[in-house]
């Protein structure tokens, strides 16, 4: 469904990605793991059109999407939940969700989608009128995912949904990610530093190090790979 080939990205003189290639088949959860500064967020931001690449191809649903503006890429059903969540702190939870449905025109469908989001994250429905900036970190993450779901995506890219959230809540959020993937058939590209969790729910994984893919395998195989274990899974 998504195919990235030889993607290269530079920030000025700093080369952040070198010939990164990977693939996400339809219906799967694929994870991109790696330590700080490996280039995970850069990869997602390039796919979603936030930054320009210096080389390579990105094809989504059989069409080349490299160079399209971000809002155009969203309109094709490829939605990016960015690192740090980026909820609209000055808007209410409800307004945030409405903005998630910015490209949706059918009011009935929007309401249905909101009901679905509330069923996935009941906490959001309790806080519908609250300003998003006053939510806890975990609630903001739920809102960020909920907002993305409002756009009825077919492909979801999640950047470190576990960042700064208590372990118990992280478990719950990951469970919901799996549900979204199963129930909705939404394909997921998951970026994580928490490699353990990510490899648990993914079918396939890529390991990124200083802007290069250094390993790729079935998630289960990566989990038992000694190199991965010592570098990313804490021994």
């Amino acid at each position: 469904m998504l195919r990235v080939e030889n993607l290269s990205v530079s920030y000025g003189a700093i080369r952040a990605l070198h010939d990164v290639s990977f693939e996400v088949p339809q219906g799967h959860i694929v994870t991109l793991i790696g330590s700080n500064g490996a280039g995970k967020s850069t990869t997602l931001r390039t796919i979603s059109g936030l930054i320009k690449s210096t080389g390579g191809q990105i094809s989504y649903d059989g069409a080349a999407i490299k160079g399209l503006p971000a809002h155009e890429i969203v309109s094709r059903g490829l939605c990016h939940v960015p690192e740090g969540r980026m909820v609209f702190a000055n808007l209410t939870v409800r307004e945030n969700l409405m903005m998630g449905a910015y490209l949706q025109r059918d009011a009935a469908l929007i309401n249905k989608e909101r009901d679905y989001v509330f069923s996935v994250f009941p906490r959001l429905s309790e806080r519908e009128k609250q300003l998003a900036g006053t939510l806890s970190g975990g609630e903001q993450q739920m809102l960020a995912i909920g907002r993305a779901l409002m756009g009825r995506p077919r492909f979801l890219m999640l950047d470190e949904p576990s960042l700064g959230i208590a372990p118990l809540l992280v478990k719950a959020i990951f469970q919901q990610i799996v549900e979204i993937n199963r129930e909705r058939g939404i394909t997921i590209l998951l970026v994580e530093q928490n490699a353990n969790l990510a490899l648990e729910i993914a079918t396939f994984g890529y390991v990124l190090e200083t802007g290069r893919v250094i390993l790729q395998d079935q998630a289960a195989a990566l989990r038992s790979d000694p190199k991965v274990r010592s570098a990313y899974l804490g021994g």
Binding site: H71, S75, H80, Y102
Partner: protein, 296 residues
């Protein structure tokens, strides 16, 4: 007592016009984080658009006045969109300073082109709405003042509705908070920015017509002083804060007429800037601004 009330009315009428202009500064600042110095000249063009429209649609009745007002607002909305597209959009992502200097350039361009086309001499502005004076005890209320209040109130409510309750208005607020996140939900930021310029410029046009109706004389440099004061009003209310701009305009108008009332007409223009310096010293975030660090 009645003198005080008279001051209050005059102050509010002046302040309402500042408020209308200030809204444009603050909304553009909200989405692009720069001061559109050409805004005061859009205000001027609004007055001239009213002047020329009044030749086609003879004013003097409420209906004709409304047609002229809306016509001038439409002209300026378009002008605002064109200015943004030609002058500011190509500089997206550049430093704020670059855009600020460009804005000053656009401002001078509008003034010079205005002088070239309209001539530098002041023209007297026709009465596009019916003119009448109402006396209540010792208080005089002119129909122009009533016009200023009614038009300002209607526009403020309309704006409030758009910003708080429509899809594009919510997108404006979203974009103002985080343009990256806005584009990730599918908002076409350029389109929302265009809309913001259209809205702000239309309000400036309304301000221009009301201002011209009050001081019935217009010229291509007429925007400078009210523009500066409206900018002060926007800062006074907390730049980027829409309610703040409205409050800031009213406060500034009242301060100014009070100074005049105490016999300080010579200093009326200096007062605005004294107020600006005071706010910057005492409450840099403005009356309604939030006390937060500039977001990145």
């Amino acid at each position: 007592m009645s003198e005080l009330l008279q001051q209050l009315i005059n102050g509010l009428a002046l302040g309402a016009i500042y408020a209308l202009i200030a809204l444009g500064y603050t909304m553009v600042y909200g989405v692009l984080r720069f001061i559109n110095f050409a805004h005061s000249d859009v205000f001027m063009i609004g007055a001239f658009a009213g002047y020329f429209l009044a030749r086609v649609v003879p004013g003097g009745s409420i209906g004709a006045g409304i047609v002229i007002l809306i016509g001038a607002m439409a002209v300026c909305a378009l002008l605002g969109v064109v200015i943004e597209k030609l002058a500011y959009r190509p500089l997206r992502g550049r430093s704020t300073l670059t855009v600020l200097i460009t804005a000053i350039g656009v401002s001078l361009l509008l003034q010079n082109v205005g002088q070239r086309i309209f001539g530098a001499n002041p023209r007297s502005f026709p009465s596009i709405f019916p003119v009448h004076q109402f006396h209540f005890g010792g208080i005089v209320l002119s129909s122009t003042q009533i016009l200023v209040f009614v038009v300002t109130l209607v526009l403020l409510f309309l704006l409030r509705y758009i910003v708080l309750h429509t899809r594009i208005g919510t997108a404006m607020r979203a974009l103002s908070f985080n343009p990256t996140a806005a584009s990730l939900v599918g908002i076409n930021n350029d389109r929302v920015i265009s809309f913001t310029f259209a809205l702000g410029s239309a309000l400036a046009a309304a301000g221009g017509i009301l201002y011209a109706s009050n001081y019935p004389s217009i010229d291509p440099l007429m925007g400078t002083l009210p523009g500066m004061k409206a900018f002060v009003a926007a800062v006074l209310g907390g730049i980027g804060n829409i309610a703040g701009a409205a409050v800031g305009g009213l406060v500034l108008g009242m301060v100014e007429t009070t100074v005049v009332g105490f016999g300080g007409s010579t200093y009326r223009d200096a007062v605005a800037f004294a107020v600006l310096i005071l706010i910057l010293l005492l409450r840099p975030e403005g009356l309604l601004g939030k006390r937060t660090a500039e977001k990145v």
